[in-house]
Symmetry: C2
């Protein structure tokens, strides 16, 4: 593994050494299990490495920190091909490279199923961490990154239809190389793409967190922030609980992108449900004082108030009938 300037001592000793110039280190860990968090028949080793790295790096930037390094505990079956592990390592390397971080070390053990224990480190550069408990009534709620494509891609894979085949063995086709997309225009993908279903399936295999927006939000004065891993409504509920506030979302703020609309029409689904409840895109959701001028990466989608609940246009959200929230 190539080492960046933040990794001072890489793999091969009892432990690695990573720079922490701030004098504090942000740390997040996730456990990912084959069959539960990923499927080898749906995602290549490369995609699984990228996604595993992405979800941890998203946790780091959601604190307002810059990622510095990653360590990986890897459990692999004895009969797993070496090329699969190489592709996994390439995925970790490429995703880390997006934020200037590297894999600093790890541990490999035998396991019946593939197990990944991923831990990411980050540096706050002297900033205060942006926690979940800082939202205040009157703040605006904004999102950066994609909302919905991963859930739509998963729905396509589960349906076994268009887009569900093909790129599993690939090491990142054109779909993966697409920019982060997301707010500023339509939510959840580009306005035009050659194959919207393949684009969505790639989005499920390989999320594209808006990494730079995390430290950027901290500099802008975000009062609370998290990455959307379980769905916007559920994750904003964590902000409400931690901050002792309510959040009301404006459903008209979300204009589904062309791929989302196409997949929804194909599957008879509601794109707003994917946008509001779909996880795994690792968008960022943050609250800002109302006077902050937000750059175009951030889309204002709601407002913080008194109370404890997340509502959509003043009404409690429900799983069925998202349409009635729209004007």
């Amino acid at each position: 593994m190539p080492q960046g300037e933040t990794v001072l001592l890489g793999p091969g000793d009892d432990a690695a050494l990573v720079g922490a110039p701030d004098g504090r280190v942000v740390i997040s860990t996730d456990l990912l299990l084959e069959g539960r968090h990923f499927r080898r028949d749906w995602s290549s080793g490369y995609h699984i490495g990228r996604k595993a790295a992405a979800q941890n790096l998203a946790d780091i930037v959601a604190m307002g920190a810059d990622p510095t390094g990653l360590v990986v505990g890897l459990g692999v079956p004895a009969d797993l091909e070496a090329t699969w592990i190489d592709a996994l390592a390439d995925g970790f390397r490429d995703e880390c490279a997006l934020v200037g971080a590297t894999v600093a070390g790890g541990d490999t053990v035998r396991s019946d199923l593939i197990v990944l224990g991923v831990t990411a480190l980050g540096d706050l550069g002297g900033r205060a961490p942006v926690v979940r408990s800082g939202a205040r009534p009157g703040d605006v709620v904004a999102v950066a990154g994609r909302l919905g494509p991963s859930a739509a891609g998963l729905a396509l894979l589960l349906a076994g239809g268009p887009g569900a085949s093909g790129a599993v063995a690939g090491a990142g086709g054109p779909g993966v190389a697409v920019g982060a997309g997301g707010p500023g225009g339509a939510v959840g993908g580009p306005e035009e793409t050659a194959d919207p279903f393949a684009w969505l399936v790639d989005a499920h295999r390989c999320p594209r967190p808006p990494y730079a927006c995390g430290p950027g939000a901290a500099r802008l004065g975000a009062t609370a922030m998290l990455d959307v891993s379980d769905g916007l409504l559920q994750d904003l509920g964590h902000v409400c609980a931690a901050s002792g506030v309510s959040i009301d979302l404006d459903p008209d703020a979300f204009t589904p992108s062309a791929p989302l609309s196409a997949a929804a029409a194909h599957l008879g689904a509601d794109p707003l449900e994917w946008i509001l409840t779909g996880g795994e895109d690792h968008a960022l959701a943050a609250t800002f004082p109302p006077e902050v001028r937000l750059p175009p990466e951030w889309l204002v989608v709601g407002r913080v108030g008194e109370g404890r609940e997340v509502t959509v246009r003043g009404r409690p959200p429900g799983r069925a009938g998202w349409d009635h929230f729209k004007e």
Copy 2:
């Protein structure tokens, strides 16, 4: 989980925040799988937590660093009793407390078998990390902590005989509370103990790394150091490979403790084999310039020379016939 002064922000947000006053952070990660690294019928949740923490904290002190915090990824079956998880958390807490560290965060997922992904952090306090590649011909080789008890305890468990029953459900009996033992006198346990077999089985369930000796060795000027996780001969082989040196051990330096001798007599085993090849005690092995005056926690067991191999009294070690190395 109670938080120490090194953990600035504990569980509950996207990531934790741990102090890194040195401006660098030492990090080590391990993956532990039920059935492969521990057995629920042999060890209680409490013991498994202590051992999982201990093996990671040992990696941190083996770099010469002071542990600061731990994060834990935990996979648990849906039907696992909450009391087992509580005992596991208690084990992590108590082992961390030995070094003034705490559990800063984690991740819990469903899993068919118990999976632990443990990552430990440490601070060097301005010291250089003690890596494996610094040993020089003429240095002395010394060990601190226990060698052999874990292997002897495992042999007793495998034999199903004395000491193999009893304390599985306990949260740390008197045997666990025994001091670190080890060098200074006999290797691998106390000279007297009420039940030597139970003492050894406890030593297998709950290793006692000599934590303070790691940063202590760094201050004394250790040229290389690691924790003995795979057996002294094998781990010193890593020092030889990384440093480009040979190491010759003096078998007469190792006087088996009373429990080791008793278990060896009972099982028809050779205590020197447990001492030289037994892993999991997480003793520390280090090399020092010959002029360093070592405190009594360190036992000099060999010398660094030219070459690349580990030898015992000048001869290549073999699995059979350890007796012939002794005078």
